[in-house]
Every structure is written in C-alpha cells, then in structure tokens.
C-alpha cells in the first residue's frame, strides 16, 4: 500500500506538470509564471519551496539526535524571513524581471554583474541541490527498496521532466499542494505523538517489540577480564578516545560492549555494530548482514522524571507537558555515539549507548559546543549568522517574488510564508523529539527520523509522509533548477553573451540548462550520501549570504555602490565561502582526511565570508567612484 500511495502522489505531481506545461509558451511564463500567481498561493508555494528536505528530513533528524541544537536551524531559517520581508521583498519585486541578477543589474546594466551574479546563482543552487538529492536517496531507499544512488537518479529524472515540461507555473502549484500537505500532515503526526505519550519501553504501538540493551557485570583479575555470565568469553578489546570496547563471544557470535568502571566494579553495556570484512561482506551484530539482519532502531527514554518501567508511562500529554517532561533533569534520553576502529582486517563501526539528561537535550550544546573553545563558539555564531542572512539571498526564493503581480503581493505572500513556515518549524520540535522518544531512529543516518516516526503509527501515515517528503524534494529541486536554468539562459546567454534569443529559444535554452544542472545534481547527490541534509543546507545558506546578500543590501541602502563593487563582492563572497567550506574539518572528514589538520578550523564560513564580502564591496565601490558614471536610476 505504501508504494501505491507513493506512486499515486508522484503521478499526480507529474500529471499536473504536464497539464500546466501545455499552457506555458513564453519566457515570462516559464521563468516567472507570467507574474500572475495569487499572493496567497504564492505564499504557500514559498513554504513549499523553503520547507525542503533540509527542513523536514534534516531538522527533524538533527533534533532527534542532537536535541535542541537541531531546533536552532528552525529558528535561524525562520528568522531569515524577517530579512526577506522587511528589507528585500518589495524592492526585489520592483527591480527584477525573471532572476535576482536582473534586480542587481537594474541600476547599472553591467556585464560583470550579469556574469558573476549568474555564476553565483548557479553555485548556490548547486550547493542547495546537493542536500535535496541526498535526502531523496535516503527517502527512496527504505520505501522502494532500491539503492541510494538509484533513488537520486530517479528524483533527478522526474525533476528534469517536470522542469523541462512546464517551468515556474507547474512548480508553483506543485509547491502549493506540497507545502499545504506538509504542514497538515506534520500536525497530524505531532498530534499522534502527543496522544501516544511517553514510555521507557516504547514498542511503536505494538508494531516493533521493545528491545532492552543488556548490561553485564565483569571482573578484572591479573590484567584479564572475565564476564560474570559464563556464557560469554572475552575475545579482545579496543581503546578509542579514552573508552574501552570489549569484544565478547557467545555461541560463536561476536558482539562489542562498552566498558564502564563504577565503584570498583566493571560493567559492560551492549552496543550495536557493523563490520566490513576484507572480502567485502558485512556483519551486523555478529551475524551476516541481510534484509532481516540490520541495525536495530535506536533512541528511547531510560527514565521519565526519574521513573522507569510501566509506571513511568504518561499516556496522552499536552504540547507543553511533552516538552516540560523531556527538559526535566531526571528524564534520561538514550542517544548514541559512533566509534570506528579496525579489528584485524575488519573495519568496525560501533553504535555505543550514550545517555543524556533531559535538561542537556533541551538546550543548545550537544552538537554546537556553546560551552566549548572560543573557536567552537565562533562556529556557532557563524552558523546563526548565515541562517539569518541566507534566506533573503537564495535564488530560488528570490525568483518567487517575480511570480506575483505587484510589490504589495510580494509582501503579503512573504507573510503567508512566515505563518506557514513558522508553524511547521514549531512542529519539527515535536516530530524530532517524537522520533527519539519512540525509539525509531536509524543509527546510520538521522535523515529518516520523521518518516520512520510516521511509520510507527502505521503504513498509511508512513506512505503519505514519505510521498510528501519526496514531493518536498521534487518541488525544491524543481525550483532550484529553474533558478539555475534562468541564470544560464536568461542572465548568461541572453543578457551577458547577448545571443539574441527570441522567447521560444530562451525557453528551450532554459530547458537544456535544466537538464545539465539536473545531471550535475544527481552526481553530487550520490557523492555526498550520508551527510545530514540540514548541515549541508546550512552551508548553502552561508554561500548565498556571502555571495548575494551584501550586494542586495548595499544596492538598496548605499548610493555610492558601483557595478564593480557589486561584482567584486559577489566573487569574494562566493570564493571565500566555498573555499572555506572545502578546507573545513567536516569536509576533511568527509573525504577521509584528519579533520584536525583542516586549514580552516570552522565548519561554517559565514562569520568570515559575509563581512569580507561587505568590506570588498565598500572598498571597490569607493575606489571606482571616479571611473564610473553616477548610477542611473532603476527603471521601476
């Protein structure tokens, strides 16, 4: 049934695209939906565009694994709309035609701005596309039982079809439907979480038996370790980052246990693990990996306000009570840490238990070390800055200002977007925490937390949520590819190279560009498999905020801004942000290098690249005042 519902939804989306595509003939229709979308529809479509895989899959996943730190993304993403509404919305609408390059270039008619703003649009769009494609692969893998890479290819193919057939009109209505459904069904999942309540023995409504991880007593004598349970024998141990992992064997099955010493006694806590053998085969928890032998779902509560067992069950709880219980220091949440080491020829990955008190889960600090070193604190500030300033600089968001008839409609649609997006972000807190308390988490990737939570309430909800999540990816990727194709066909080819397209040729060039960008997105989506999609989107925000926002702000508020200043600012912001990301600890880790050796110690570049871009714009503008004519007035 799940697959049938899923396919029906995708079919509906494609059908709508073909229907609307048949009506789209002009460049204005393809790139800006003719500028005739109603502001309320556009506002919900904004939400559809914005609530991408990062919001639905990534934020819920990060809240599930890192608690409140994941919610920081919700706060930052929503706050960014304030910049969009108060500063950018109406001026962008007045100045532009199809793309944000139009708006930047409206005063100057500069080839440099056309070139660099178009490249910036492409770079930001591609950065934003990566997490969407990663999310698509993650989503399709368990639903249709196909490998991650095929999931990515499938999404790429569908989106290219959508974009190549219809353009902005179909994308808008797909986003409208999807945005509305996403909010409604997220509310349903949240209500279900609250109705089920909290338990220290979650069994997913009776669907999956509760698994209690065991703890064994052990004795150390003459440097050797022995378990009190004689059925087990110690077969080895590994020390990693100050902790000891002990390999036990029972009936020929090897398992890894985390050692802890307390009051002179030794305890071994059961973990999960998977090992890659030299011959390429895999072992999960001591047995060959198979469809039936996979890692167990993680999470759950060890205690609820100090109680455990059946008497700790709360029954239905209210929305405030739910958060209050989870924030209690006596509530203990099961999380896990991932440890990698070699055991002979085997490459072992252990998922070891790590229990956290509720008060630590419900405030920042688990992922972003707000109590850490000055550099770690700076990284946190850098992230929050990029999230705040990134929204108003995202090309696929900015182009939506050209789909409505007037600046007032641009403003109103932004407010509708804030209402829908803000409400959804409040729900992410409940869905993310709901995933962890119901112990539905996939220990390998946190991106599937929300759909897996939905599955704990039955196949129907799982299918609907998965289909919406898939449509989320489809819609956002469609918007991004249209933004990218507009940058190529309209900004680069038509306006920078002055190829002299007529309307039909411009649309065709846009479709070809959409195809090429779609292929690039597919390749990158396969390469970046496994990274949290919200983290990746955070990087896209940083690139957008660095490359685009300084120009947008300064062109609106500083009369001495020059074309060369804008061009230099875009290049500086883009190169510095992308460069810093490439040399960051996270990327070093991703590419198998030691993160400690990364030349740039922060993961988030915004704190450096955004001010740098502003400074370069001011300096170059001041230096080129005499060489340029006073800026002409904007047409509109």
């Amino acid at each position: 049934m799940a697959i049938a519902i899923f396919l029906a939804f995708v079919g509906l989306v494609l059908g709508l695209s073909f229907y609307l595509g048949a009506k789209t003939k002009s460049a204005s229709g393809y790139f800006a939906a003719g500028g005739q979308i109603h502001w309320a529809v556009n506002g919900v479509a904004f939400a559809g565009d914005y609530l991408s895989a990062a919001s639905f899959l990534g934020i819920c996943g990060m809240i599930a694994t890192a608690g409140y730190d994941g919610f920081l993304y919700s706060i930052g993403y929503l706050a960014g709309w304030i910049v969009a509404l108060f500063v950018v919305a109406e001026p962008m609408k007045r100045l532009g035609k199809y793309t944000f390059t139009d708006a930047l270039d409206a005063k100057f008619n500069s080839r440099g701005i056309k070139l660099f703003a178009a490249i910036s649009t492409l770079v930001v769009s591609v950065f934003y596309l990566i997490p969407q494609m990663v999310g698509a692969g993650v989503l399709v893998e368990p639903l249709l039982g196909i490998p991650h890479s095929w999931g990515v290819i499938m999404v790429g193919a569908i989106v290219i079809t959508i974009v190549a057939t219809a353009g902005m009109t179909s994308t808008t209505y797909v986003q409208f439907i999807k945005g509305g459904m996403l909010v409604v069904f997220s509310l349903i999942v949240t209500a279900a979480v609250l109705y089920r309540g909290l338990s220290t023995q979650p069994d997913q409504g009776g669907r999956v038996p509760f698994y209690e991880y065991r703890t064994l007593g052990a004795i150390e004598a003459k440097g050797q370790l022995f378990t009190e349970d004689k059925a087990y024998s110690v077969a080895g141990s590994q020390s990693v980052k100050g902790e000891t992992y002990v390999k036990l064997e029972k009936d020929g099955v090897a398992t890894w246990w985390l050692r802890s010493d307390k009051d002179g006694k030794v305890y071994l806590k059961e973990t999960q693990y998977e090992a890659k053998k030299a011959d390429g085969s895999s072992v999960v928890n001591g047995l060959p990996a198979s469809k039936d032998n996979v890692l167990r779902q993680n999470g759950g509560l060890e205690s609820i306000k100090g109680k455990s067992g059946p008497e700790a069950d709360t029954g239905p709880v209210g929305p405030f009570e739910f958060l209050s219980i989870l924030g209690d220091p006596e509530t203990r949440v099961n999380t896990w840490k991932i440890v990698k080491f070699s055991d002979g020829d085997d490459k072992v990955v252990v998922y070891a238990p790590s229990v956290k008190p509720g008060n630590r889960i419900m405030r920042p600090g688990l992922k972003f070390k707000v109590e850490g070193t000055p550099l770690q604190k700076l990284d946190f500030v850098s992230l929050m800055l990029a999230l705040f300033l990134g929204t108003a600089a995202l090309p696929h968001i900015l182009i939506r200002y050209y789909t409505v008839p007037s600046p007032a409609c641009a403003r109103k649609s932004t407010i509708v977007a804030i209402a829908a997006i803000g409400f959804f972000y409040v729900l992410t807190m409940y869905m993310g925490l709901g995933a962890v308390v119901n112990a539905v988490l996939n220990p390998v990737t946190d991106n599937m937390s929300a759909p897996l939570l939905a599955r704990s309430f039955g196949t129907f909800l799982f299918a609907i949520i998965s289909a919406i999540a898939f449509a989320t990816v489809l819609g956002t990727v469609s918007g991004l590819i249209i933004a990218a194709s507009g940058a190529v066909a309209h900004d680069l080819m038509d306006r920078y190279l002055q190829v002299g397209f007529n309307e039909k040729q411009k649309v065709r060039a846009g479709k070809i560009a959409a195809f090429v960008v779609g292929i690039i997105a597919i390749i990158l989506g396969i390469i970046f498999k496994g990274m949290n999609v919200s983290f990746l989107v955070g990087l896209a925000f940083a690139v957008a905020a660095s490359a685009n926002l300084p120009s947008i702000i300064m062109i609106l508020f500083w009369k001495r801004t020059t074309a060369k200043g804008i061009a230099a600012s875009i290049v500086t912001g883009m190169v510095s942000a992308v460069g810093i990301i490439m040399f960051s600890p996270s990327m070093y880790d991703k590419f198998g290098l030691d993160p400690a050796t990364a030349p740039f110690p922060l993961d988030n570049p915004g704190i450096v690249s955004i001010p740098l871009s502003f400074i370069v714009l001011v300096l170059v503008s001041l230096m080129t005042q005499k060489k340029e004519q006073a800026p002409v007035q904007a047409q509109a």
Partner: protein, 94 residues
C-alpha cells in the same frame, strides 16, 4: 539594454515609508535574535531555567522568536497597507 519587470509596477508613493519602517523592524528583530545567540554563548545554563508552563528559556525564547516574526510581519503589513491606501495616486481613490 535595460529591461522591464515581469509584471508592470506603477510608482509607489509609500516606498520610502515602507523601507524606513522595514529597516527599523528588522533591526529590532535582529537585536532580539542576537540576544538569543549571546545568551547561549555567555550564559548557556540560563537556557535550562524553567520560565513558564514547565518550559525552559530555550524553548520559550525559540518559540517566541518564531511567534514574534509573525506578529511583526502582520504589524508591518498593516502599517504598509494603511500608508498605501492613504497615498494612492490621484484618480485611484482611497
């Protein structure tokens, strides 16, 4: 070659007013957002303190930032709409 917007926009007598109040409202919100970041960095344990309905400061402040954005957006829209209605070009009526 300059170019025209996708949909024609007439002159907007309220543009300067809207920009001015937009900037002030942006600065107000940015200050509250910055205070949230600063508390997390300088006094992270404050975020654990219970404020109301059993909720800690982190949750109240986080939800508050989201709610405040919507409230300010509605106020902004009302102010802009009122000014636009009062300053429509002659002939369009009020």
């Amino acid at each position: 070659m300059l170019h025209e917007p996708a949909a024609e926009c007439g002159p907007d007598a309220s543009a300067e007013y809207k920009q001015r109040i937009g900037v002030w409202m942006f600065l107000f919100y940015a200050a509250i957002y910055a205070a949230f970041v600063a508390i997390n960095l300088l006094r992270p344990l404050w975020m654990e303190k219970e404020i109301m309905f059993g909720l800690n400061l982190a949750v109240v402040y986080g939800f508050g930032l989201i709610g405040l954005a919507l409230v300010m957006a509605l106020i902004y829209n009302t102010m802009c709409g009122t000014h636009e209605a009062d300053n429509k070009p002659a002939g369009e009526g009020k």
